[in-house]
């Protein structure tokens, strides 16, 4: 009776991603009642000894198990969804979850193209009978409201024209805003918000280049003082690095549910965009391939599906 293996498989289901369906079918499905009873008696964290003489499933762990079974379905539904609906849904979810999830708003607003973001805004109208800017403006309370509303409202120019002198001058403005960061929070500085939320991405790339000349550092390093600004700049300056970091946080052993959901979000939304580049950066940063990490931390159909999406970039 190979009990420890199944016990380990079930335990693993609560510490990683997804469930090992094949193992459950091949092993648990063949147990008779005596084997199952032994299993219940030995799995103290899953089953509680009830006062009336039977071993009872701990509800909390049933809920966790349910969540792990659902990961595959969630991924599937998100993957088949139209990107507009997907982004609108993710944005709304982030708003509802509160400040710890506002990063998702920044992610969507800054890493999508102008037309993709516009599409998401259209879908938001259909799904929620509200514009995303209305919702963000009325739900976000703190000083980050200004930045978030501006970012989700952006419809940036995407052509090749850039005015070098303007980029240079605005790099100086950002540099000064950081220097004076003690007296005035940079994320509340109107000029900082204006520049980051209205300028084209090409203009900003040029600006970041001049910034480095002025400050000696990458803007991402200097903007470390403000979480939302930092993320904004990361998403614009080096999105693949940003995504790699999100993936790494999701795959750590101590990742919370919010970080874990990011795994699905990033892989599904980037699979056909820049997954190849993200994989390269991930490998450079962490010394191991993304696929290997997923293989180690995820189980079953969920794992296979994620790997299929991640590897999609390879053959394209």
């Amino acid at each position: 009776m190979a009990l420890p293996v199944e016990h380990e498989a079930l335990t693993k289901a609560f510490s990683g991603f997804g469930v090992n369906e094949k193992l459950f079918i091949s092993e648990l499905g063949r147990w008779h009642s005596e084997q199952r009873k032994v299993f219940r008696k030995r799995s103290e964290q899953f089953f509680i000894e009830d006062e009336r003489g039977f071993e009872r499933w701990d509800h909390h762990h049933v809920a966790l198990l349910e969540r792990e079974f659902l990961r595959f379905k969630t991924t599937l539904v998100l993957w088949t969804m139209h990107p507009w609906e997907r982004d609108a849904g993710l944005a709304n979810e982030a708003l509802i979850n509160g400040p710890q999830s506002y990063g998702v708003l920044i992610e969507i607003a800054c890493t999508r193209s102008s037309e993709e973001l516009l599409g998401a805004r259209r879908a938001y109208h259909s799904l929620f009978d509200l514009s995303i800017e209305e919702d963000v403006a009325s739900q976000v309370d703190g000083p980050e409201r200004k930045l978030l509303v501006a970012l989700v409202s952006a419809y940036r120019y995407e052509g090749p024209s850039v005015k070098e002198e303007v980029a240079k001058a605005e790099a100086k403005i950002l540099y000064n805003a950081i220097k004076n960061g003690v007296s005035k929070k940079p994320s509340e500085d109107d000029e900082v918000v204006r520049i980051l939320s209205t300028r084209s991405k090409l203009h900003l790339k040029t600006l970041f280049h001049y910034y480095k000349e002025i400050s000696g550092h990458n803007i991402v390093v200097d903007f470390d003082v403000d979480m939302y600004l930092k993320q904004t700049v990361e998403c614009m300056y080096a999105p693949q690095t940003y995504f790699s970091q999100v993936l790494d946080a999701a795959l750590r052993d101590d990742a919370d549910e919010a970080a874990k959901r990011a795994l699905i979000r990033v892989i599904v939304t980037r699979a056909e965009v820049d997954m190849k580049e993200i994989k390269e950066v991930y490998c450079k940063l962490y010394g191991v391939s993304l696929s290997e990490t997923i293989e180690a931390k995820a189980h079953g159909n969920f794992k296979d599906f994620l790997l299929a999406l991640v590897e999609k970039g390879q053959s394209d």
């Binding site: 509200l130 514009s131 209305e134 419809y155 120019y157 084209s200």
Partner: protein
């Protein structure tokens, strides 16, 4: 409803020839230009431009620019442009002429439908290699900037859903901010610049029901204050644009010295939309038809052109 009178069928090639002939030789046959161009819908004008380009290897607009001077030229030039392109040009002119004409920015962003305004923003990017938001943001400062950038950035929900409770609570927020003279209050900008037009109208109505005075009247006292004036204009454009445009026309024709820019802009931009309603409102308010006022205050080909657009 539109006021322009245009035939259902036309020959773009023939029209192009008439225009070419009108511009040839010494002087210009403005009457001929008006007889064609003032009586064509946007898609027809586009076809004429294309036919002209194909036949004479020149952009119709360039040809006209070199021939005409003054108010008539400006009006005709604006008229020929595709509506989204026209609005983009109007917005750009409003920003780049030293002192920002914020009313034009508010008009363009608030009286067009969300989809029309989106087309304007695309046309703006194509023409000026910058987004409208960028340009508005870097040509304005302070509280006015906050309002204008928000107004041009928004992509409003355009459905009919109304949240009555929200209308009530936001009417109170507006009332409170105005009472405290906090016109730059973030909540005012938020409500006016993000809510759908239907929702905003419900809010304005609720305000009037509760406080027995319309919000625009409450804001009327502070005309010199640019921010208050802008808020008022924005609210009027969003919730009752017919009356707003009637007022612009009235002021343009009443002021000692007609304001041709305003006059041209309203007539040219509304002729294909709701100029008929605006005319009715003008008559109701001033007891004379607007054509009469236009005939009195303008002259020459400029007058003829405006009257043609007004439906004569």
């Amino acid at each position: 409803m539109a006021t322009i009178v245009a035939p259902l069928q036309h020959s773009p090639v023939e029209d192009a020839e008439v225009i070419r002939k009108a511009c040839e030789g010494w002087g210009t046959n403005e009457k001929a230009l008006i007889s064609v161009l003032a009586h064509r819908y946007p898609h027809q004008r586009l076809e004429i431009r294309k036919a002209y380009q194909d036949r004479y290897h020149e952009d119709l607009i360039r040809c006209l620019e070199s021939e005409l001077r003054g108010d008539f030229e400006r009006a005709l030039y604006r008229w020929i442009l595709d509506p989204a392109d026209r609005d983009a040009v109007l917005a750009n002119v409003a920003l780049k002429n030293g002192k920002v004409d914020y009313r034009v920015i508010i008009e363009v962003s608030c009286t067009r439908t969300p989809e029309e305004f989106l087309a304007v923003k695309r046309a703006y990017m194509a023409r000026y290699k910058h987004s409208l938001e960028e340009d508005v943001a870097c040509h304005t400062t302070g509280d006015l900037r906050k309002l204008l950038v928000a107004l041009v950035g928004v992509y409003r929900y355009d459905g009919d859903e109304i949240n009555a409770k929200l209308a009530a609570s936001e009417a109170e927020i507006l009332h409170h901010a105005i009472k405290e003279n906090e016109f730059n209050h973030e909540e005012i900008v938020r409500i006016v610049s993000t809510r759908s037009k239907t929702q905003l109208l419900a809010t304005i109505n609720r305000y009037k029901d509760t406080h027995d005075i319309s919000i625009t009247k409450t804001l009327a006292g502070n005309r010199e204050n640019v921010l208050v004036d802008s808020l008022r204009a924005a609210i009027r454009c969003l919730t009752d644009k017919g009356k707003y445009f009637e007022k612009v026309l009235r002021n343009a024709l009443n002021k000692s010295g007609t304001d041709e820019d305003d006059l041209t802009r309203v007539i040219v931009t509304r002729a294909e939309k709701d100029l008929r309603q605006i005319k009715d409102l003008y008559y109701k308010r001033n007891s004379v038809p607007v054509e009469q006022a236009v005939a009195k205050e303008t002259h020459g080909h400029y007058e003829e052109f405006l009257l043609a657009l007004l439906g004569n």
